[in-house]
């Protein structure tokens, strides 16, 4: 026996044990065997085995033993063990051996076993394994490189098992999953275990022991690429940021670890990290100069996060650019970033073809980097920036989208202030909204003292809180001072009368006849009379339709050419309302006039847009049923009725109330009569609105090129046509209109301007809404297929979100209409 090597000895011993376990049924034997096996794991002074034996057992036989135990778990002897013995002997074998082998066996067992008591047993052991911090031991053993030099496959498996543990258990246990295995909890545990391992590493390094952080880095990378980076980094990043604040060893360990993250996982780690850290300084402490040493990291930080992705918050941009600006060695990168960002911002094609959100994001990045660079550095980039500013602003200001124009203005203003071109600054007039405010806020540096130490924070807080508390006390004595005898001094006992009749006095009286009105508007130089005429014009037009018909076109012409010479309040709306009234009351001649003028020479864009608006509003008015005048006698009585005493209730109300209270109702039906059907006044004249506008669109004039530069008008026109189409629903002419509109729209469906595209899609929606479904299949059968493909294409690929949603909507409408028709092919005539 003495001559036997420890290896053979151990092997013999283990096989004996197995033998006993399979054959024996005696309690004592089994306990003895388990104790023997346990003794190979003890390394205390009381241990009966030599260290060589222990090493050999752990190297070669441990996994085998565990496998054996797991596969024999339902053997009789296990049941005969008492609970205490069970935990002591059986579980101990799993919890005290080399952790990675135990974990692998456990996970394999969980994967292989069907739901049973045995599975439950393994789950409990796994839970204990995690709770006892064995994961940290596992990581630590890899840090020390004491773990057996494993094959890449083994390591890959181990990584996979550790990272995917929640998935594996969830797949096996389904609804009976333990809370500890849920991702939220497990990854938080994993994060703390990683921190423990790193802490031990730091301690070991301080004591002069060599350590490696490769395994932890790999775990981190794998977790991030699996999409759980946010949970892990939410725990890890603040801790690392706090630890690296003063400790150089920690910093070294962090830098080393991030350097060791495999290239393919680097991106997900970095994106997670920039979102998890609290400020640029923290990022700098954790990743060091990683951007300079690691190509992948450089690409991610300086290119991908800034120019290719745009989902991050402004804070992330601040962190990234602040990180680049914080170190002398990284500043050249910041200048490079500024160069590329400014090119991206100024690129006219990007302005047209990228989504608005991305443009905002890039603008923020541009402003941030400009604000971070010093004046001397900006001098170096001056010519490029100037070029970017001029070109970029031009393409932004050319855009039809208000937000893009506004972004152009804000960025232009900020750049010109920052660059200090001969002391001149750009200044635009624009309305501030959330976006511009956010952009402007980007230029003001945030307090760099990010995340102060957790301790001091509370102390800083407390005086503020006491101040807040004391302020109301200070305020209180003041309030009585403001009005010392407010009770005595109030006028509240006197209730005011209705003062709505208190209006400004007019010096002149308004004209009573529409012809006078026209005269004044045409030739008068008296501002008061012009204003009065304009104010009464709409009511005069509506009051006397016959008089209106005589001069409708003339008045329309005058109004169309009228300018706001006297700065009349509400000029535009008054003018528009009058023109709408004219169009509505004398439809055919006025629409004829307006649609012809739309394509003629020497009108400004504004005037052409006005024409479109007037036509659209008039069509809307015509398509609405006439306003009912049922309650007008009541109103009339109301105004003439004298107030008697102080009872404000109208006598009719009182009478009505009495009648209501005396009337018994059998059923609570609707007391209001249902709306009366009225003919759609728009239907007979829809063609007059619609077809003349389609006639001349492709004949460019000197001053007006619809298919060229004037795409704003084109977009509005198509939108208006769509509106006509929508309002002409159920009209006999709708089918013809729909066909014509689809034909027209086909030519401009891939227009570069999103306003036009939106108009086109709106028009298509309207066609599908308004066209009777039976006509759709018969008249448009050849086009429908192509239209569908085009819509699907837009719905997927258009950079503008509105266009995408409109396309989806059109597809839904089309499908609905087609389905209806195909299900009921015999239906004749419109359903409604």
């Amino acid at each position: 026996m003495e001559s036997l090597t420890p290896n053979t000895e151990v092997r013999l011993m283990v096989s004996q044990c197995f033998q006993t376990l399979t054959t024996s049924t005696h309690d004592k034997d089994i306990t003895a065997v388990l104790q023997t096996l346990n003794s190979y794991l003890d390394d205390g002074p009381a241990s009966t085995t030599t260290s060589a034996q222990r090493d050999e057992f752990q190297r070669a036989h441990y996994t085998r033993t565990l496998h054996f135990l797991v596969s024999n778990v339902q053997a009789d002897w296990l049941h005969s063990l008492r609970a205490a013995q069970n935990t002591e002997l059986w579980d101990r074998l799993f919890l005290c051996g080399p952790p990675e082998q135990a974990l692998l066996v456990l996970m394999e067992g969980i994967g292989a076993l069907r739901p049973s008591v045995n599975l439950d047993h393994l789950i409990t052991i796994t839970e204990k394994f995690l709770q006892r911090g064995r994961l940290a031991d596992l990581l630590w053993s890899h840090c020390l490189e004491t773990a057996p030099s494993d094959s890449p496959q083994l390591r890959e498996t181990l990584l996979g098992r550790i990272v995917a543990l929640p998935d594996l258990t969830a797949n096996r246990l389904r609804l009976k999953n333990k809370p500890l295995f849920l991702p939220q909890q497990y990854y938080r545990l994993l994060a703390t275990e990683m921190l423990t391992a790193l802490e031990r590493t730091c301690l070991a390094l301080k004591n002069g022991t060599d350590c490696s952080s490769i395994f932890v880095a790999q775990i981190l990378g794998k977790v991030c690429i699996h999409g759980h980076g946010d949970v892990v980094l939410a725990v890890v990043a603040p801790q690392l940021s706090a630890c690296t604040r003063s400790d150089m060893v920690w910093q070294r360990v962090c830098w080393k670890m991030l350097g060791n993250v495999p290239q393919r996982w680097m991106e997900s780690v970095l994106t997670g990290l920039v979102q998890a850290v609290s400020g640029p300084d923290a990022l700098g402490r954790i990743i060091g100069n990683l951007v300079l040493t690691n190509k992948k990291a450089q690409f991610v930080i300086t290119h991908k996060l800034l120019l290719l992705q745009y989902k991050y918050k402004t804070q992330v941009l601040r962190i990234i650019l602040g990180y680049l600006a914080a170190d002398r060695e990284r500043r050249p990168l910041l200048m490079q970033v500024l160069r590329s960002v400014s090119q991206a911002w100024a690129n006219p094609s990007a302005v047209k073809h990228t989504p608005l959100e991305q443009q905002l994001y890039v603008s923020k990045a541009l402003l941030l980097s400009v604000s971070l660079l010093s004046d001397s550095e900006l001098q170096g980039l001056r010519s490029e920036l100037l070029q970017c500013m001029l070109g970029g602003m031009q393409s932004h200001l050319d855009s039809n989208v208000v937000q893009i124009r506004r972004v152009g203005m804000v960025v232009g203003e900020c750049l010109s202030t920052r660059m200090n071109i001969n002391g001149t600054k750009l200044k635009f007039e624009y309305d501030h909204d959330e976006e511009t405010r956010e952009l402007l806020a980007v230029m003001t540096p945030v307090d760099s003292s990010d995340e102060p130490e957790p301790g001091p924070v509370k102390e800083v807080d407390s005086p503020q809180r006491t101040q807040n508390k004391s302020s109301p006390f200070k305020a209180e004595p003041q309030s009585p001072q403001n009005d010392p005898d407010s009770e005595l001094d109030s006028d509240d006992e006197l209730t005011p009368y209705d003062m709505s009749g208190d209006r400004e006095m007019n010096q002149a009286s308004p004209p009573c006849y529409l012809r006078d009105c026209l005269e004044t508007l045409m030739s008068s130089e008296d501002s008061v009379r012009v204003e009065l005429s304009l104010k009464v014009a709409e009511s005069l037009v509506r009051k006397n339709v016959f008089a209106t018909r005589e001069i409708s076109v003339q008045l329309t012409k005058v109004l169309l050419h009228m300018e706001d010479k006297y700065n009349i309040t509400g000029f535009l709306s008054l003018r528009q309302a009058t023109m709408v009234a004219l169009t509505a009351s004398d439809c055919v001649p006025v629409t004829q006039y307006l649609t012809t003028e739309f394509y003629s020479l020497n009108y400004s864009l504004r005037q052409r847009l006005d024409m479109l608006e007037v036509l659209a509003l008039a069509a809307q008015e015509l398509s609405k049923p006439l306003a009912e005048r049922r309650d007008s006698p009541v109103c009339a009585a109301d105004s003439t009725d004298l107030m008697t005493g102080d009872n404000p209730l109208h006598w009719r109300q009182v009478v009505d109330k009495r009648i209501q209270s005396k009337t018994k109702r059998r059923s609570k039906g609707s007391t209001q009569p249902s709306a009366k059907a009225a003919p759609n006044r728009f239907a007979p004249v829809a063609g007059h609105f619609f077809f003349p506008l389609l006639r001349n669109y492709d004949k460019p004039q000197m001053t007006f090129d619809l298919l060229g530069g004037d795409h704003l008008v084109l977009g509005r026109m198509i939108h208006t046509l769509g509106l006509f189409m929508h309002l002409a629903v159920n009209a006999p002419i709708a089918a013809q209109m729909g066909r014509a509109l689809l034909d027209f729209v086909w030519a401009v469906r891939y227009h570069t301007d999103q306003v036009v595209r939106r108009g086109v899609l709106f028009a298509v929606c309207c066609v599908f809404l308004s066209m009777p479904s039976q006509n759709m299949l018969t008249d448009l059968s050849d086009q429908l297929f192509e239209t569908r493909t085009w819509l699907a294409d837009v719905a997927e690929g258009d950079p503008d979100a509105d266009c995408r949603s409109l396309a989806v909507q059109s597809l839904v409408l089309l499908d609905k209409s087609l389905k209806k028709q195909l299900q009921d092919p015999q239906a004749l005539g419109p359903e409604s």
Binding site: D491, L494, P496, Y497, M499, G501, M505, M643, D646, P648
Partner: protein, 329 residues
């Protein structure tokens, strides 16, 4: 819902001219009377029970009457006309004759101000012959008391108010001038106590609440400005100010109980405000021309109190507004 604006309870027609000034005399026992001064030089005495003109007094030879008032002690009537005369009328026992008159020499529109003292004598302040000059005389005796002329150039006197403060020996006088400044004079010391620039335009009218030591003035613009007098007799403008819809106010009047302020607007409307906070309460629309005068009646019973407005359209409108008393509101 707020009440619709009220209508006048009755109107008095037949004055035959613009009504520059109104004065109530509704003390208990007597027939309630309303005196009005017209642009054609006639003082009408209206009986408010019969709602008719009782008597017409013509004593200013056709020149516009700009101010009427009664002496409580003797029941005599004072009227001021543009013929530079202030006449004293004896109206007792059906008489209607001028018993006395004072030559003022003023060509302006400044209304006189009367201060009756308990002893039976009273003080009358009026604008003098010089445009900036204010004269004060003792009434039955017609002895001049003093003449007040400001040192600084402030333009013509536009409106004055004479009153006796509770504390302090002598009467004080408030005067509004053409350049918009408001001066406080001590009549016994004959010196200026305080000055404030209340308006950029000439002050058209002012009224002063002697109990609360608070006044308000108006000009040809849209703004009314209110001011207070502190213990040291300093005038101070208050933040509390009112902006009207249409510019121009001819007269302001505070009701006896200090609750209401009424303004006679050039825009044909009478506006009623709460006096304490200057909260707009009502806009009274009836007249078809500028309202020239407003007055609150001096009825003993608060429920009978009326508001009268005289206009250029030759009518007087009478309104019962916020006169329910505290119990019914």
């Amino acid at each position: 819902m707020s009440h619709p604006a009220p209508s006048p309870i009755y109107t008095l027609r037949g004055a035959g001219g613009p009504l520059n000034t109104l004065h109530f005399s509704c003390l208990a026992g007597d027939t309630p009377l309303l005196f009005s001064g017209s642009g054609h030089g006639v003082v009408h005495i209206w009986n408010l029970n019969s709602r008719r003109a009782e008597r017409n007094l013509e004593g200013h030879s056709g020149s516009s009457v700009i101010w009427v008032n009664t002496l409580q002690s003797t029941g005599a009537l004072l009227s001021q006309g543009r013929d530079m005369q202030v006449c004293q009328w004896d109206l007792r026992e059906g008489r209607s004759e001028v018993v006395d008159s004072v030559w003022t020499g003023s060509v302006g529109f400044c209304q006189c101000s009367l201060l009756e003292s308990s002893s039976g004598s009273s003080l009358l302040a009026f604008a003098g012959q010089q445009t900036e000059e204010i004269k004060i005389i003792d009434l039955p005796s017609k002895k001049p008391v003093c003449t007040l002329v400001p040192d600084a150039k402030v333009g013509m006197v536009m409106c004055i108010k004479l009153w006796q403060p509770d504390s302090g020996p002598g009467p004080l006088l408030l005067a509004g001038y053409e350049d918009g400044s408001l001066l406080l004079w001590d009549v016994t010391q004959r010196c200026k106590l305080s000055e404030v620039k209340a308006h950029p335009e000439p002050i058209m009218c002012l009224t002063f609440d002697t109990k609360r030591l608070r006044g308000i003035s108006a000009s040809s613009e849209k703004k009314l400005s209110s001011w207070i007098l502190d213990r040291q007799n300093n005038l101070q403008l208050q933040d509390l100010s009112v902006t009207l819809v249409n510019p121009g106010v001819s007269q302001l009047c505070v009701r006896e109980d200090g609750k209401l302020l009424a303004s006679a607007g050039w825009d044909h409307r009478v506006r009623v405000f709460g006096w304490k906070k200057l909260r707009p309460l009502a806009v009274l629309q009836y007249h078809s021309d500028m309202v020239l005068s407003v007055a609150f009646s001096d009825h003993q019973d608060p429920r009978q109190r009326l508001l009268a407005a005289g206009s250029k359209d030759q009518r007087i409108s009478l309104w019962s507004i916020y006169s329910e008393g505290a119990n019914s509101s």
